[in-house]
Symmetry: C3
Subunit: 161 residues, 3 copies
């Protein structure tokens, strides 16, 4: 078993199945685009174990509390790891997290976006350690996200050849 997957198991965490989109929605792009040693990760939402979009849905600060949004950002992390594993086979091949763009479905007056996206960053740094897991990051408020998911995150990571 890969070291990262062993850590996931030790934390009691499981990767979800690949994303299942709402019926009738067809997306003609991959969840991860590999190019040489670079992997570009498409914007992901939070997933349930079966790969369907996981609630609660809506705007953070209105429909979700900060704590619920933190958990949702952690689920986004697991969804991204699931997509990366499907593409590169072994999560240990990620040599560096580079850029993370954290998007929060912003309720009126809510502004603690960084504390929400920490749900993602804490997971990645716990799994990969600071040297590999550290990433440049923005955490900002969006007017809307697809299908009213509360969090969407896109990223770029470096991959061992």
């Amino acid at each position: 078993m890969s070291a990262i997957e062993a850590k996931l198991a030790a934390l009691g965490l499981q990767l979800p199945a690949p994303t299942k989109l709402p019926q009738g929605v067809v997306l003609k792009f991959p969840w991860v685009r590999l190019h040489g040693n670079r992997a570009f990760v498409s914007g992901h939402g939070p997933l349930a174990p079966d790969g369907s979009l996981a609630g609660p849905f809506g705007k953070v600060g209105e429909d979700l509390t900060l704590e619920q949004a933190y958990q949702s950002a952690k689920l986004v992390g697991l969804a991204i790891l699931s997509s990366l594993k499907a593409e590169i086979g072994d999560l240990d091949r990620v040599t560096a997290w580079l850029r993370v763009f954290g998007m929060v479905n912003a309720g009126k007056g809510f502004n603690r976006f960084p504390l929400v996206i920490n749900g993602f960053s804490d997971l990645i740094v716990d799994l990969y350690g600071t040297e590999r897991g550290n990433h440049a990051r923005s955490a900002v408020g969006m007017a809307g996200l697809p299908f009213d998911i509360p969090i969407e995150i896109e990223a770029e990571v470096a991959i061992a050849s």
Copy 2:
């Protein structure tokens, strides 16, 4: 004629003239920034054939229907191809589409951003095929876009040396 331009012609599509900004607006940055084999594409809006910003303007779901927004996203694709051609000479030199960030001027309650940005992705994959044309993508809702354009897209592509 380049293969991509032949395909554009076969589809009955024409690249617009370079972007003409509204009077008095000066932008001190290039539409495409080349660096080695990487081309960074600035955020583009939809253009009319003469390079002026193309309407309809406003928020998707309020001022534009989904279908109008899809067409607008396709015009953004043509605008980006026009800028790339101006910078690299031949669109066949694009070896891989890597990252696409699709921004939709979000009307209240609208959330079908991916279906809008498909107007861009469908064009790129039609022209370049999946191997070269596939890209990591996000499609999200913005509080506002410059000059009330309905769609703005930025991207990164790989270029043959």
Copy 3:
């Protein structure tokens, strides 16, 4: 003294101290993520000389004028230069500005985001010249930004080995 710092001094500009976050906020990610010749710059806000977040706070077009927002974007530029200097030692090591993503906390009906982010781009091009300083850019309106800062900018730059 480095050439860029000499220019800063000639312009009467000073880099702020490293970012001091509001009390109780812990962010587990670096302000700059280096990877080979690439430096990924996390989303930065405007800083006062002591590194605390600089006001005015709020939404551009409501709580700030365009001119105030332009100045705020310039402060974001100085904050990013401060973080880059802390990470790479000498600002002359930046060989190319590549990608700039400019986010504006959007007041209702405000749409002149590019003129706001020019406060950043003008500074960078003044300091680095067009060949090194030119960058692909988007300038767009967000529903909210952390701690109600009016501007947040993330970037990627190339670094000499």
